[in-house]
Assembly symmetry: C2
Homo-oligomer: 215 residues x 2
């Protein structure tokens, strides 16, 4: 389970909190660009903080990488919560799909590299199950509201994420634009209006959604 929130002392001053957020954001970008081997000094330099400040907040590389991942993982699971909170389930569904695919386009292999390097750093089981339950409920509501075609199955999210992965993997520069256009086409296809018959669902489960295999 993500441990990010518990690591930030409740009384952390605003500028310290700002520093922490900036370090995590900069580290996130560097890991995505150059892999997990980026030196701590490079993170400090780009974040505009001293190396001592960086090590005070994150005593080890692992603690920084884990924090970055926890942040991202929380953002991913909160996408479903936000969508469920939308009074228009179909609008919530579309927004969730757009956000998940945009995150995947920005990920650039970070999640896979993190899990390979630190397989036991976080217990993500519970959060993953919660996200899958949430998306299944979101699907049900969007179908009940008439926006989402009735033959959409939750496993089609895995289809979409794998398809988006094919685009993200193949074209570094064009990845975000290509991903947005693919998602645009697919949301048009998911709409209940004038839906045409589809081939049957593929036997896929939802695990690719979070870039994780079952453990």
């Amino acid at each position: 389970m993500p441990t990010a929130p518990s690591r930030i002392p409740a009384g952390l001053r605003a500028d310290a909190r700002h520093n922490r957020d900036r370090i995590v954001q900069v580290a996130r970008g560097l890991f995505a660009e150059r892999g997990l081997d980026v030196p701590m000094a490079a993170v400090a330099r780009r974040a505009g903080v001293g190396i001592a400040t960086l090590y005070r907040r994150f005593p080890t590389k692992e603690s920084l990488v884990t924090e970055v991942f926890a942040d991202q993982f929380q953002a991913c699971t909160s996408v479903v919560d936000e969508a469920l909170a939308d009074p228009d389930p179909w609008r919530g569904f579309c927004a969730a799909i757009e956000k998940v695919c945009a995150m995947q386009a920005a990920d650039r292999g970070f999640t896979a590299a993190f899990i390979a390097a630190y397989p036991d750093a976080l217990d993500v089981e519970r959060e993953r199950a919660r996200a899958i339950d949430g998306f299944t409920e979101l699907t049900r509501r969007a179908q009940a509201a008439g926006g989402l075609r009735p033959d959409f199955v939750p496993g089609d999210l895995a289809l979409l994420v794998m398809a988006n992965g094919g685009i993200v993997a193949k074209s570094a520069e064009a990845a975000r634009a290509a991903s947005r256009r693919l998602v645009g086409y697919l949301l048009a296809a998911f709409s209940a209006e004038h839906a045409r018959p589809l081939p049957p669902p593929a036997p896929l489960d939802l695990d690719p959604m979070l870039g994780l295999s079952p453990r």
Copy 2:
């Protein structure tokens, strides 16, 4: 340019022709399953021909691999010709998309492995340019006939093939079913009926269509 037809003597007897087709088909399946290192003896065994017969037809492994690729490449380019011959351009367009994606699902990395192993075996430039011109013309006609939405651009085929590649790469067993369902969704999205606005096209070219990078 594919040289397959010129290698089959005009007067080749029907059973010899049948043997040749069977060998190529069996080799195709074995290369896809197990890579290009499959021994010639394994090809002969599965094709039900003697090893001497196999070597009489294909004196080297390279000659067999090249023939398999030429066959497949010709099948791929003829997809566009068949689609252009359909009196209903939108139906032709849909059939071409379905066939290209099914071929990609069946390819299992064979094309990439072939090009890596024998980069100079075939001059595919001319055929590739012809296929791209043909698909561009098919797009124009399907739009003029009102079936294909007007904001579809030929580069969206690259998008689709990359997306399909993400599915094909990730799930060996479910690949064909997943690919068919993705294509079903995307053809629904490509339809001109009730098309909704899309994000702008990504700067992709058509080269992934044939699994080739420009040379």
